[in-house]
């Protein structure tokens, strides 16, 4: 029916067109599925994509939700650019939150935010340690990082469940599995705007994104380290020819992305929960994979991708409340979006040639 012909020059249009077209097609497809399931398509469209923009505090909540996605996404960008498939960001997120939380609970009376800064460090270390396991197995023994990092997600989920229900359990929580509340110094407060008060749940953690995006961009484009990562992912033999050490780069990107996921975990718990519970992540580590792809492994792209996906997630929450659509359906959309994005990548390199029937 049709075949692909290599383009002589990679289509620059498709770099931005790809994500945009993919989003549009995903929306169309999604609406089709919803209609098929008996939901009103226009109502669904409004709830999922517009309702998050309907009030100022809702818009700010988009950024709150996008925050962990973007932080993890920047880390995954480094890994995926080097062709290292870190699928375990979810586990690294959890371990970062867990380690930092345990640390914070050792100082129950501290009020200064310096504690929070230390928690970021501890959280980074926690996530990095969790990423170190697949990293060392890959560099020393050539074990595939996909399965190892993924298995560790399940381990992390069970581990935090154990810790929260066991050693760190708050005896005053009356049956609910929760740790004691964090001390003041471990919390990330909402931002008070003069005259308006708080904007939804918008908290100081947003500042991390403001820092991280430009830092990531500089790292990838203006440093030797970023160049090494790009070369390794594009042509490993060329990386060797340049004298870049594959193992060092592998270890670096995994530790960095694990650490960033860990920091994202600290932010989530400190800003939105205030104490540890068995479930601290709601698939952020996996959703961030989609964000990284949608953002074409580019910090600016990831910023927009994070906002887009966060919008959809919030919209899905609203849709669940108002229309009864189970919010787990976002996974459905994320999958479809990824499929279209990948097709867009193919179209970047190849042109469709329709075959005439003879």
């Amino acid at each position: 029916m049709f075949t692909f012909v290599p383009r002589d020059k990679v289509s620059k249009n498709w770099v931005i067109l790809g994500p945009l077209v993919s989003i549009i097609f995903t929306i169309m497809f999604g609406l089709l599925i919803f209609t098929f399931l008996g939901y009103d398509p226009l109502e669904t469209l409004y709830q999922v994509f517009m309702s998050p923009f309907s009030r100022v505090d809702r818009i700010s909540d988009i950024f709150v939700k996008a925050c962990p996605l973007i932080i993890i996404g920047c880390g995954l960008m480094l890994c995926f650019r080097a062709n290292i498939w870190n699928i375990g960001a979810e586990g690294q997120f959890i371990m970062g939150a867990l380690l930092a939380g345990s640390f914070a609970l050792m100082f129950p009376d501290v009020e200064t935010k310096i504690l929070l800064l230390f928690m970021f460090l501890v959280g980074f270390i926690g996530g990095a340690i969790w990423a170190f396991i697949p990293a060392i197995l890959k560099t020393r023994l050539n074990v595939n990082e996909i399965l190892v990092s993924l298995m560790l997600v399940y381990v992390a989920m069970l581990f935090i469940d154990f810790i929260v229900r066991g050693p760190l359990r708050d005896p005053m929580s009356f049956g609910f599995p929760l740790t004691k509340p964090y001390p003041e110094g471990a919390l990330i407060n909402k931002i008070p705007f003069p005259g308006i008060g708080y904007l939804g749940q918008l908290h100081y953690g947003i500042l991390l994104i403001v820092l991280l995006i430009p830092l990531s961009w500089i790292f990838i484009n203006k440093t030797l380290g970023g160049f090494k990562i790009t070369v390794l992912g594009s042509a490993p033999k060329a990386a060797k020819f340049a004298g870049f050490k594959e193992n060092s780069i592998t270890m670096t990107v995994l530790l960095l992305s694990g650490g960033l996921a860990g920091i994202a975990g600290v932010v989530e718990v400190s800003a939105n929960m205030g104490q540890l519970q068995p479930e601290v992540s709601f698939g952020y580590g996996f959703t961030a994979i989609i964000v990284a792809f949608l953002g074409r492994l580019n910090p600016i792209g990831i910023l927009f991708a994070g906002i887009t996906i966060a919008t959809v997630k919030l919209g899905a929450d609203n849709a669940q409340m108002t229309m009864g659509i189970p919010k787990v359906v976002t996974g459905l959309f994320e999958g479809i979006l990824l499929f279209f994005l990948l097709t867009g990548e193919t179209l970047q390199k190849y042109q469709i040639k329709w075959k005439r029937f003879k």
Binding site: V5, K240, F241, A242, G243, K353
Partner: protein, 518 residues
């Protein structure tokens, strides 16, 4: 033009046209092959030879044109139908399956049903009959290149072909294996099987073929009688202009030892590799040392360890001007004046989807590092190489579609010019080339070889690792052969013959998987 002659014609292709998008690979090609004729197909890279024969075999379908076999119009719509019509093909890079046995590899191309027992006995019979000894139960991955080609040929013979197509069969063989192949092909042609033989080796064509068809830019420019033409005429028809001879200055008296390898050993790091055993070599400034050998005998491993991509076990295994550098990595060796030029132009020497300034930065980045300013060593990026990149493009006549193109936008020849220029701009002391003219047109190949000669004439030391014996003899002052990770003695080029080298290339070293000396 008697009708009797027409009956002699086995295969006739008329007005074959094939395009890929905008690129016209074959334009109005006519070919006529008699029964039992050995017909050579000559042309540069990109002339359209491989495309044409793939059409004859059925892997590709022509946009227009007809094919007649024994004066009957046939439609070859797939390789299976090609085989049914009596066409057999041995691809340049073979179409074999390393993880499967010889018998399975042959069975997979057989379209008729056959019992395994019968298959094995048929293989053994053919093997004996044609002197193509092969054990049906061995895995392809354990076979040498020469042995693999035998499997390909037997596979074709099993189908009783009327036309056997061979795509560049001799680039990977020793001179003795080539002799054997020619014997078989001549025997086949006597028995009535026609042969269509793609090659760029002019002398072979003259020795083997009856007729030669020359392709240029997709068109058939000439069909000549191979027995009455000359290599000069063939070359000039193929390229379309006069070919310049290499300018060689034979006066060389430099006795300073530039580069030395002493008792180098390197165990292979995985199952696919070759272990290097006790490598010893010495090269003076102003010399070209040619290391001949069939691909897969340790050239890649040797290149890795000479360039510094892989460091030696012992610092003293490699010496530059008597200073041990065995444990220095590739960047340090570049700083000291050693420039390696690898075999693979894309994905090894360059990154295809990065721009030329980024590809320059790839091997120049160490120059921008400043011992005193630790912090700014992080912030070096390809922009630093933009100027040098422009200079390389200008000085080496690299044709670019835009000022700073991606590496994959350049043609093979231009990319090679860029790669060479990038290395030479560093004014190295020692340059190590691996297969520098592999897959490159005659015109570009000549210019690359001249550059190598110029280098040595400027007093640099040049190591040339090449499968092309002609090239080795043309350029080298001293010659040796690498065989299964072992280097032969080094001899001056005028003390060794091609036949001697051939024997060394094909010898059975360490009773491993090498071919027998015939």
């Amino acid at each position: 033009m008697a009708n009797g002659k027409e009956l002699d014609i086995l295969f006739k292709a008329r007005k074959i046209n094939k395009s890929f998008g905008d690129f016209q690979a074959n334009i109005d090609i006519d070919i006529s092959i008699k029964k039992g004729e050995i017909h050579a197909l000559l042309g540069e890279n990109g002339a359209g030879k491989s495309t044409l024969v793939k059409i004859f075999y059925g892997v590709l379908k022509p946009d227009s044109g007809t094919i007649e076999i024994n004066n009957q119009l046939v439609s070859i719509s797939s390789p299976k139908s090609g085989r049914t019509n009596g066409v057999g093909m041995v691809f340049q890079h073979f179409s074999l399956f390393p993880a499967l046995t010889v018998a399975e590899n042959i069975l997979i191309a057989l379209d008729q049903k056959i019992s395994f027992q019968r298959l094995i006995s048929d293989i053994r019979k053919l093997s004996k009959e044609w002197d193509l000894f092969i054990d049906p139960l061995r895995l392809i991955s354990d076979l040498s290149v020469g042995e693999r080609q035998r499997v390909e040929i037997i596979r074709c013979l099993m189908q009783n072909p009327k036309l056997l197509i061979m795509d560049e069969p001799t680039s990977v063989l020793t001179p003795q294996e080539i002799e054997n192949l020619f014997k078989i092909l001549k025997r086949l042609s006597k028995s009535g099987c026609s042969i269509l033989y793609i090659s760029h080796k002019l002398e072979e064509i003259i020795e083997l073929a009856n007729q030669v068809t020359i392709l240029k830019s997709g068109r058939c420019v000439s069909t000549l009688n191979a027995k009455t033409t000359s290599t000069k005429e063939l070359a000039e028809t193929m390229v379309g202009k006069k070919i310049t001879k290499l300018k060689k200055n034979n006066i060389k008296n430099n006795k300073t030892v530039a580069f030395e390898v002493k008792n180098l050993n390197k165990i292979k790091d995985n199952d696919f590799g070759i272990t290097l055993k006790n490598i010893n070599l010495k090269i003076n400034y102003g010399e070209i040392l040619g290391i001949a050998g069939i691909a897969g005998n340790g050239q890649n491993e040797l290149m890795e360890v000479l360039s510094g991509e892989v460091i030696c076990n012992n610092d003293n295994e490699i010496l530059l001007e008597n200073v041990p550098i065995g444990q220095k990595n590739i960047t340090l060796r570049r700083k000291l004046g050693i420039e390696p030029i690898p075999e693979e132009r894309t994905l090894h020497a360059t990154v295809p989807n990065l721009a030329l300034n980024q590809n320059t930065f790839l091997t120049y980045y160490y120059k921008y590092k400043n011992r005193n300013n630790f912090f700014s060593n992080f912030f070096i990026s390809p922009q630093h190489s933009s100027e040098e990149s422009i200079k390389i493009i200008k000085d080496n006549d690299v044709r670019c579609p835009e000022p700073n193109p991606l590496a994959n936008q350049l043609s093979g020849g231009n990319l090679q010019k860029f790669i060479l220029g990038r290395s030479m701009a560093n004014n190295p002391k020692v340059a190590i080339f691996s297969q520098p003219t592999w897959g490159v047109d005659i015109g570009a190949a000549t210019s690359i070889r001249q550059k190598l000669l110029n280098l040595s004439q400027k007093g640099k030391a040049v190591i040339l690792i090449s499968q092309d014996l002609e090239e080795i003899f043309e350029l080298s002052d001293k010659v040796c052969v690498i065989n299964n990770g072992v280097l032969s003695d080094i001899l001056p080029v005028n003390e060794i013959s091609a036949s001697d080298i051939g024997l060394l290339m094909g010898a059975n070293i360490n009773n491993n998987t090498k071919s027998e000396v015939s």
